[in-house]
Symmetry: C2
Subunit: 170 residues, 2 copies
């Protein structure tokens, strides 16, 4: 199994799922008569990142994982989104970036070391980086986006979280 | 990369991380003067599963993933935990179960089909089951456990979520 398979296409799918939750959130805002920008500062606890920052972190983890696991430097995004609409555009920017990757960009991952941005001079094997950091961190922020929307009243279910799967007949 | 590597050891680590969050939650309960069993029904929204059910689902996904990805039938657990202490014991039961697996139990995963419990007559390749269902579902419930504790006031940080990593010098 390639490291590409377990990261890029699945992260892209989850980002698309997130856009579907945002569409539900928009409809809920319309029904209740509030502006969808109100979601940006919603949070589960006062000392935890709000919706906007969780969404940006999910985007950054997807972007950074694709780049670092293939030995590239991720593009920098400014985290200056001030509206619900701009957050959606941020997701689209990352989806376009991810679409530029193919499995062959990951060639050599078996022996690649990935520097840890939060620990100077230290790194992890690409496999370990993906399994122990990229995936758990990505799903954390995606789940916080989901959880904050649920906490804010938006009706979402597990099917909307998981999204489509490659299903076969038994 | 083996399917075992991306699932069992990492899921076991996250379950151990979860036990560390529970220890923090217990300490917070003591400081504030409430019983830790109060966490069991805490939830982010009235129509979402509470703490106890999220924790059971995380355990079940870990147990079920190890079993199904290696072609076995997972043991059944009754979901009858009524105390914080019993939930901790549930995690320990699953940790013991996971410790019984080794990479060789997954042999043949490249061609294994995994039945989907929620879709009769349908399944997914083991690789797809792991990437598209087991990991996202596991991290979802783990993150909800974390999110519910944060929402309930327990002070946790990203380091407690990620836990230890296999780090190397660059």
């Amino acid at each position: 199994m390639s490291l590409y398979e377990v990261t890029v296409p699945q992260m892209a799918k989850m980002l698309n799922n997130m856009k579907a939750w945002m569409a539900e959130a928009e409809q809920y805002a319309e029904e209740r008569g509030f502006h969808p920008d109100n979601y940006l500062n919603a949070r589960l606890q006062m000392d935890q990142f709000p919706f906007s920052r969780q969404l940006q972190a999910a985007c950054d983890t997807a972007k950074g994982s694709a780049a670092r696991l293939s030995g590239q430097t991720p593009p920098r995004h400014e985290d200056n989104e001030a509206t619900f609409e701009e957050l959606r555009a941020r997701i689209d920017t990352v989806l376009t970036y991810l679409a530029g990757f193919s499995a062959s960009d990951f060639d050599g991952w078996e022996t690649r070391l990935v520097p840890l941005p939060f620990l100077s001079g230290k790194g992890a094997s690409a496999a370990s980086y993906a399994t122990e950091f990229a995936l758990p961190n990505f799903y954390f922020h995606v789940s916080m986006v989901y959880g904050i929307l649920r906490h804010s009243g938006v009706k979402l279910g597990k099917r909307a979280y998981i999204g489509g799967m490659q299903i076969v007949d038994l």
